[in-house]
């Protein structure tokens, strides 16, 4: 079965420190991978995606993600966290074979950045 796992319900980090939000996936074939952020009572905002090419993908608000095919992971990173980065983060995957655009979402990780 195709799935996405975000093993941490919550990640706590101090402002100014680097942050990592983990994501692993299981799909058949090559995946398209995405990260989204959600602030309270808002829709999801697209941060970045991996389609092909360079394994390090840069996105909005200083976020980046590293695709690791051997570990089937796509961890979200930021060199220096801001308090305003505190939100709910979702990893998502689309199998290459899909022609509907449907995404498989992880359960989400709450990021708490403390001043």
């Amino acid at each position: 079965a195709q799935s996405v796992a975000q093993p941490e319900d919550q990640v706590n980090v101090a402002e100014g420190n680097p942050l990592t939000v983990k994501c692993t996936y299981s799909v058949s074939g090559n995946p398209y991978l995405f990260w989204y952020v959600q602030y309270p009572n808002r829709g999801l905002q697209f941060l970045l995606k991996y389609i092909t090419g360079d394994n390090l993908v840069k996105g909005s608000y200083g976020f980046e993600a590293e695709f690791n095919k051997s570990q089937t992971s796509f961890h979200l990173k930021k060199p220096s966290a801001l308090v305003s980065d505190s939100a709910l983060y979702f990893c998502a995957v689309r199998p290459y074979s899909s022609n509907t655009g449907k995404l498989i979402f992880g359960q989400g990780t709450t990021l708490q950045v403390k001043p």
Binding site: Y36, P40, G43, L44, F46, L88, K102, F105
Partner: protein, 112 residues
């Protein structure tokens, strides 16, 4: 640029009442459209998706239905709401096979 709208923003309805939530997309044509429900601020559950006018696929059998009467309009409906229908409903659109999904602002539905 593309914009996605949802209304209403919040809704409180009694059990057994009907429901109609609307989603419209501007600035693109022939998008893929999606309805999600999010419970308790966590995981997203895909309810319906549509790749064209009148083409609706249901992901989860329940008392909800969806329709796409126009290219950029997606409607979520129910004839009789249940308490379990409460949640945050999100509409999204995407283009093509590799395109990311863009989400609307959501509708908070409370069934009392």
């Amino acid at each position: 640029s593309q914009t996605i709208h949802q209304w209403p923003a919040t809704l409180v309805q009694p059990v057994g009442s009907p429901l109609s939530l609307e989603c419209t997309v501007e600035g693109t044509s022939n998008p893929n459209l999606y309805w999600y429900r999010q419970a308790a601020g966590r995981g997203l559950q895909l309810l319906f998706y549509s790749v064209g006018i009148g083409q609706i696929s249901s992901e989860v059998p329940q008392n909800l239905s969806a329709s796409r009467p126009q290219d950029r309009q997606f409607i979520l409906s129910s004839k009789k709401l249940l308490l379990s229908d409460s949640g945050f409903y999100l509409c999204a659109w995407s283009r093509g096979q590799a395109g990311e999904q863009y989400f609307g602002p959501g509708t908070r539905l409370t069934v009392t």
